[in-house]
Assembly symmetry: C2
Homo-oligomer: 476 residues x 2
């Protein structure tokens, strides 16, 4: 009893209500009809749920094109902009990728499958960049053979390997080397500039005749949310470019700055926040898009820093490559989900949704706005704990979310579902949902939902093959 | 520099090497051939990797049957044992489930898909138990219509719902109510005994004419690793059974104690351990199977406590239901994976594997032994950081694992991969691997690996349907 009281006091002291509010639905291109329905480009979400069921991924084509267009634009006063390669792993939906490719966005791939998919979708090889710490020999071979734009070597040991395969194929692929500059990710990624390791890697690669060393790759990782984050990172990379020139006489033609620009309405959650949120049901502070670095400014700052740097040295302007993921698709997609049941207890009310960590794993470590589709003016409501249908306490999406009164069948939108929701999705006990795209009043199915048969299909195929006396090897 | 020194001192102080060693490969039924190869029932893992590729899930049929047999056995001196329902969500591979069903194990399902799968595999409805916090109306309807053994109501609000659907169907399903006793999971699961809530739920359910209230469900959650854990939990549940009898005159016919018995060689990792492991590369202490509660003892203690309790009250012995998951399949499966590349740095060496959190998410929060398949006598080696091929620092499976010297193409086994590896798997950038079962010298394919085409299939089908002018709705 005293424990409960202590919690109550603590909750008041620490502030149980978040100070900020999430942006209005209009931020995402949504509007509320006179009847109280939420709609996207004139299509109500009620209609979508009726036609396609719940859960449902909804892609906002207009926002997708806007975001891509801002990356592709040449900033005022600059000779050129960036070359944009969308990070396939972020949201690998063929229909979304095709929409981006039609605008001139290329493909940034990290696996043999993604390379295959890009070629399958008709992306010209010169619009493909291949990255990643774990490239198979077969994937390196295909990338070189197809003559893609740029193959970024992840670490020193990969230089000889790529060189050997290139030699075997009689090709001379255009390569970059991934470096780390003491900001953002390191570990398994890239060769550190510190200790002269990146420089040594370049010197080694330059000695391999079968490699055309044209570029540099530096992906910061995490989320770039401010001009300062970006500037510090770009200047550190350029400082290495300078050093490389001093030591080897080379000025690189291609500078690939990777991705990491944040979705303005999403932010990572700290361990402390998560602890308070879980233990005391303290609401999470929304991410404030007004304080986030926008795409226009990102492109402008990046091209400005690089152009000025090369101009001062009278070097020819390099090609500037970026590999955005989150910043293009993050806020151009939402996950519609519905309440299966409400579980009321004296201390807490749970909403059990038809989507959980199987579809929205990111909610465990990132802030994602949760918008009720139901008329917000319904009386009642309060702070709910919002969980999914998976049988583990880990399937909690929101430990404390303030919502209007909701009942079974009511729908909600988990916002900014266009980055890492789809690729991290599992078929844990429940089939994965369809994905539709809304474009004006046109609704297109981009991916049909999984059927029960799909989930068992590879097992039943194996059993059938075994039963028919086929050798299992034939099924691979 | 001083930071690095501090780390070195700390590392020595805290002990960089784990005290225990994982069990010998023989624990899992593996042996080393004269040539230094690791083999399972006479099949070398080298052969399996050659035939089926890497990564590869390998089911040990003998261990699977042994574990199930121990759950099904009647303990010495007892009139009967337990009725065993395997937790489908733990490892939903049709071939594994069929192997268990052939022995007399039933199906514990938590979703419409799992219910469908059990019926599809020919499990008689009276061998099916349906649980979970998020049951759809359609799934409840099918469960009632099929006349399954037991439908466990998760929370108070579900009583009226199940009652209503039963009424509509003109059936009277056998139900239990899930309770929580202040040990293990609560939250979205079950009705708390505290505050008289569980009692109220029973009183309410007993008033619904369309419900046949026969049982009780209590799933502790987490991992039961000791006799004390089990005893405390069972006594708490029995104490509620007593109270229920006093208040309603009912002694329940079916007591369902859920699952949660640990895999002896797996244990959950604490936040502190994980922090030391990540920051200081302190090796993890293996789980000691000798100190874990075994299946025989679990069954013996459980049936003993329940029988004695009912005997003392001169009530007819109830049916005792258990729903093991981990304890049956956990140590009967292993994930074969291979080194794609080694990344050496002055401070740390990384092994990049072809399996990461896409296939072995559990390694982030549980101890799983890592066995080199390669000849262990190879000189050199040391402490490696073992990562997967996914482009995120989160894709680290082992922050510090002591291994012999390993090179690209060498294989490793991630042990105890039979619980929550397959259901939590994603197709993040890489297709999911095949699953084979080794039974004596016979190797059977249980699930064929995903092909690139599989990953794009639902997108391309949608695009084709849209192109052909088919209404998208037809594809659902």
């Amino acid at each position: 009893m005293s424990k409960r009281l202590a919690k109550r006091v603590l909750r008041r002291f620490l502030g149980s209500a978040a100070q900020g509010r999430p942006p209005a639905p209009e931020y995402w291109g949504l509007s509320r009809t006179a009847a109280g329905d939420v709609s996207l480009d004139g299509v109500t979400l009620r209609q979508l749920a009726q036609e396609w069921g719940s859960p449902l991924h909804i892609v906002n084509a207009r926002r997708l094109r806007e975001n891509a267009g801002r990356f592709l634009a040449v900033p005022a006063g600059r000779r050129a902009g960036c070359e944009v390669y969308y990070s396939y792993k972020t949201n690998p939906i063929a229909g979304v990728l095709q929409e981006l490719h039609a605008l001139g966005v290329g493909a940034e791939v990290i696996s043999h499958y993604e390379l295959w998919l890009a070629l399958q979708l008709g992306v010209p090889p010169e619009r493909i960049v291949f990255n990643g710490p774990g490239k198979s020999d077969a994937s390196i071979r295909q990338a070189i053979d197809a003559q893609i734009q740029l193959l970024n070597v992840n670490h020193r040991e990969e230089i000889a390997r790529v060189g050997r395969i290139a030699g075997e194929l009689g090709r001379r692929p255009r390569i970059g080397i991934r470096i780390t500059v003491g900001q953002g990710w390191a570990g398994q990624f890239g060769v550190p500039v510190a200790g002269g390791l990146a420089l040594q890697a370049y010197e080694e690669a330059l000695r391999v005749a079968s490699l055309d060393v044209v570029g540099l790759h530096a992906h910061r990782g995490g989320m770039i949310r401010s001009r300062d984050d970006l500037t510090a990172f770009v200047l550190a990379v350029l400082s290495f470019v300078d050093e490389l020139h001093r030591r080897t006489g080379r000025s690189l033609q291609v500078l690939d700055f990777g991705g990491s620009l944040a979705t303005p309405t999403v932010r990572g959650l700290s361990t402390r926040e998560l602890r308070l949120n879980r233990a005391l049901q303290r609401e999470l502070e929304p991410a404030d898009p007004a304080r986030a670095l926008g795409i226009d400014e990102y492109v402008s700052v990046l091209t400005g820093l690089v152009e000025d740097f090369y101009d001062r040295r009278r070097w020819p302007r390099p090609r500037i490559v970026v590999e955005p993921g989150r910043a293009i698709t993050g806020d151009a997609q939402m996950l519609l989900t519905s309440v299966l049941t409400v579980k009321s207890e004296p201390a807490r009310t749970f909403l059990v949704l038809d989507a959980g960590i199987n579809l929205a794993e990111s909610c465990r470590s990132e802030y994602h706005a949760l918008l009720p589709v139901t008329d917000a003016k319904r009386p009642g409501g309060g702070v709910y704990t919002v969980v999914g249908p998976i049988c583990t306490p880990g399937d909690t999406l929101y430990w404390a979310a303030r919502l209007p009164s909701l009942n079974a069948w009511d729908s909600l939108l988990i916002m900014d579902a266009g980055a890492y929701f789809v690729p991290f999705a599992t078929s844990f006990s429940f089939p994965q949902p369809p994905i539709v795209m809304v474009d004006g009043e046109k609704v297109t199915l981009l991916r049909r939902g999984e059927r029960f048969e799909d989930l068992a299909q590879r097992d039943l195929a194996a059993a059938k093959a075994a039963g028919a006396g086929t050798t299992p090897g034939a099924d691979r």
